[in-house]
């Protein structure tokens, strides 16, 4: 009995580990080259919010507030310049470290249906769009 359960346990664990289907792979995420700069920009906003709150509640003198604000503005200007240099936050490139995305198409190779956007599977007959469809 113990031997049988042990064999089942081992087989189950090995099967679970090795039987990976393409659908089990996580979707590829697009990574913006300026994401970390946008992140820093958000921190500058946060810092400014804190600064202004402390000024408003009377913890900071006028001079301290103005100096700190000028520094934050300088930081923001530098970040904006850097983001612009890298081509703007809108540019996104696919991550290189993730699974290859299954090819997609706009014309179904099976039923010939046409779609405005590239799809993995046909919206009419559910056939894979990977082969033959125009990307």
């Amino acid at each position: 009995m113990t031997a049988l359960v042990a064999v089942l346990l081992a087989l189950g664990a090995i099967l679970f580990t090795l039987a990976i289907r393409r659908n089990d792979l996580p979707e590829a995420a697009s990574v913006s080259p300026t994401a970390h700069l946008e992140e820093k920009k958000a921190i500058v906003y946060d810092n400014f919010r804190d600064l202004q709150f402390e000024y408003r509640v009377g913890k900071l003198s006028d001079t301290d507030y103005q100096v700190a604000k000028a520094v934050l503005q300088r930081e923001l200007a530098n970040l904006n310049a850097e983001i612009e240099r890298l081509g703007g936050a809108k540019t996104a490139v696919p991550a290189t470290q993730v699974k290859p995305v299954p090819a997609m198409g706009t014309v179904c190779p099976k039923c010939g249906a046409k779609f405005a956007q590239p799809l993995k599977f046909c919206g009419e007959c559910a056939a894979p769009m990977a082969k033959g469809g125009a990307a």
């Binding site: 359960v5 346990l9 679970f16 970390h36 992140e39 804190d50 301290d64 503005q73 470290q97």
Partner: protein, 670 residues
């Protein structure tokens, strides 16, 4: 079924190695199938370890004495709760708990980050699995909890087990080890993320936000574990102490200190991009100290009241500690360019410098504790003589360091980022300063002459005033703007910035604990041999022994006393301390009686009977203000939970609403 647990552990070990190799190879060769398969293996490791743990617990609950572990750490008459707690009552079970908790953390990390941190996740998995495999080596080959009792090739059994150590048969002790382990094991996750980010040179601090929250949860568990241990020592060991600078206690405090330092200095990295190297060093040190703490607890290299184990696992731990230290050091040194700081310290009088001093003091405290803990081992290696470092050494160093940290707790929130002008300093420090100095003056005038107690009480009021002022100023600003009353404004204020005001709440908890610590300067104690009708006095209390009884049940024999407590002729309470002697383990334990009040505890311990069995040896203690330590603990938990709740402003921002204040900055920039 007795072999099934061992097989599950062996399978988990094999899959752990596969997950480790698969994650690294998958990331290196960019094979998403291999990475996904390695991730599956991590889930399988968790399932197998859960199966093994469930089998061990089942064996304990059903008193299956064919297993050597069950026979050594439980007996038939133990209550089910303590049979369950026997899972971590011995070396083998305790190491299995470590492994199981790590596997739980690993699957939580994998699941919650399945769409995030794509580049670093395989390395995070690999780092976690390295530790997992290390502990699975113990579970499978060195300290297997499924070893069966056998004569020749025949599996045998014993009629009854040895029972659990009686000191562990206490409710707080039933939950103290797993909670402390949740802390110890949890620090593996921030370490894994730090190593992952160093290996891949991940741009940005996105991973840092993930581990900050994680570190906070783990820190909370570690705090609970330490405080539960202190509460257990206070209520069970019979001498009324909650902290004895015992090596095993110190082992749990060391990673807590470095994690505390990290939780403060990480703000510098998040807000200012500073102290990146330092933060990675702190994360690595915290994890290293967790492994080191487990090593101290489990190897028996230093003698401790906990004295869990004397075993040959030391050399394995030494090797792993060297590996972790060397790997972390190599990665940090080879990635110094990646960790370059973009800002510099502008002024000594700034919040940045107060964080820096806070970190330095925590490091001094940590090093002093480490030195004192390891001194017996070092002295034996150098001189051949084992010289123990006693409580006074620790107190001499830790009290001034602790008071300095308390001072910084009050100062830091009042300083501005970058620099504070004399005008701001005067405005912020006037009231709290007067409160602190005024407290010292009043207490001195009232006759208090204990230097450290005076300073501590003064600083406690100073810090409490600074925090109260912070809440008041913020709440008043909201109240003026929205028309809410002050109490509602305080709630609103806290909800708007949970991290800041949760942090202040944690600081209030720490202040309350310091009030309790300072009270120990005025402890009183007395040991007397008393018979029925005898009276003795301690402090303002008159104590009279009314009854002395003895008896037994299947688990233990007992001596029980009933003591009448009165003051100035008026009756206050009857206290009933007890002494127990457990039959299976042949060990004694105390069931102390404590009358808890906010200003002081009266504590009675039935230490035993005199040699002629005619009188009871009674130890009586008065512990002023000790209850504030436990109250502070609950406040600390509350504060940490507030910190973990998302802020309302940040949540709004996450939904896309640009904060109005930030708009002003953008407009100003344009």
């Amino acid at each position: 079924m007795e072999n099934l647990g061992a097989i599950a552990i062996l399978l988990a070990f094999c899959l752990g190695i596969y997950a480790l190799v698969g994650s690294v190879a998958g990331a290196w060769r960019q094979k998403p199938f291999l990475i996904a398969s390695a991730n599956r293996a991590i889930y399988a490791v968790w399932f197998l370890l859960t199966t093994a743990s469930a089998l061990l617990v089942y064996a304990l609950l059903t008193s299956d004495f064919r297993l050597a572990y069950v026979a050594a750490h439980s007996n038939r008459d133990m209550p089910p709760l303590y049979k369950f707690a026997a899972w971590w009552g011995g070396q083998e079970g305790s190491l299995l708990l470590w492994s199981w908790l790590l596997s739980c953390y690993s699957v939580v990390v994998l699941f919650t980050n399945r769409h995030k941190h794509r580049r670093i996740m395989p390395y995070v998995s690999a780092t976690l699995m390295t530790t997992q495999v290390f502990f699975l080596i113990f579970n499978a080959f060195v300290a297997n909890p499924f070893r069966v009792l056998a004569v020749g090739r025949e599996i045998t059994s014993v009629p009854d087990g040895n029972g659990l150590n009686p000191l562990l048969q206490y409710w707080a002790m039933a939950i103290h080890p797993p909670i402390l382990y949740l802390g110890y094991v949890g620090f593996a996750v921030p370490f894994a993320f730090a190593m992952g980010s160093l290996i891949t040179r991940e741009p940005g601090d996105g991973w840092l936000h993930t581990i900050r929250r994680w570190t906070l949860v783990t820190w909370l568990f570690q705090s609970c574990g330490i405080l539960l241990g202190a509460g257990w020592a206070y209520a069970v060991l019979g001498w009324g102490g909650y902290w004895g600078w015992d090596p095993v206690e110190n082992a749990s405090l060391l990673p807590w200190i470095t994690a505390t330092a990290f939780l403060h200095s990480v703000m510098m990295q998040e807000k200012k991009g500073m102290m990146k190297v330092w933060n990675v060093v702190l994360i690595s040190a915290t994890f290293w100290l967790c492994i080191f703490g487990t090593f101290l607890t489990r190897s028996g290299i230093v003698s401790s009241v906990h004295a869990f184990a004397q075993s040959p696992i030391g050399k394995w731990f030494t090797g792993y500690l060297a590996l972790v230290g060397a790997a972390a050091l190599y990665l940090i040194l080879s990635r110094l360019d990646y960790l370059k700081t973009r800002s510099r310290l502008e002024s000594v009088i700034s919040r940045e410098s107060s964080f820096l001093f806070n970190n330095l003091l925590l490091l001094v405290s940590c090093f002093a504790i480490l030195w004192g803990t390891l001194f017996p081992v070092i002295s034996e290696a150098v001189t051949g003589q084992k010289i123990s470092v006693d409580v006074p050494f620790f107190n001499r160093v830790q009290i001034p360091v602790g008071l300095s940290l308390l001072f910084l707790t009050g100062v830091a929130p009042l300083l501005a980022w970058r620099r504070s002008s004399p005008a701001s300093l005067k405005r912020n420090f006037m009231l709290p300063g007067i409160a602190g100095i005024g407290t010292i003056a009043v207490l001195f005038a009232a006759g208090m002459r204990h230097f450290y107690a005076l300073v501590c009480f003064g600083l406690c009021l100073f810090v409490a005033s600074t925090i109260a002022l912070e809440f008041y100023r913020g709440a008043r600003a909201i109240s003026v703007k929205t028309g809410q009353n002050l109490a509602a404004a305080v709630v609103e204020l806290t909800r708007r910035n949970t991290r800041r005001y949760g942090g202040y709440t944690v600081h209030i908890g720490i202040v309350l604990m310091f009030v309790g610590f300072a009270g120990s300067a005025f402890n009183k104690n007395l040991t007397v041999d008393v018979g029925i009708g005898d009276t003795f006095h301690l402090g303002r209390y008159d104590l009279k022994v009314l009854e002395l009884r003895e008896g037994e049940n299947p688990n233990y024999t007992w001596n029980h006393a009933v003591v009448d407590v009165s003051t100035g002729g008026s009756h206050l309470a009857n206290m009933e301390p007890e002494r127990r002697f457990y039959k299976s383990s042949q060990q004694g334990s105390a069931e102390v009686s404590i009358r808890r009040r906010l200003h002081e505890d009266l504590y009675l311990n039935f230490a035993g009977m005199t040699d002629d069995n005619a009188k009871a040896v009674m130890q009586a203690y008065v512990f002023p203000l000790v209850s504030w330590i436990w109250i502070g603990f609950w406040v600390l938990i509350l504060g940490t939970l507030i910190c973990l709740t998302p802020s309302r402003v940040r949540a709004r921002k996450a939904r896309g609403a640009e904060p109005e204040l930030a708009d002003e900055l953008v407009v100003a920039e344009r």
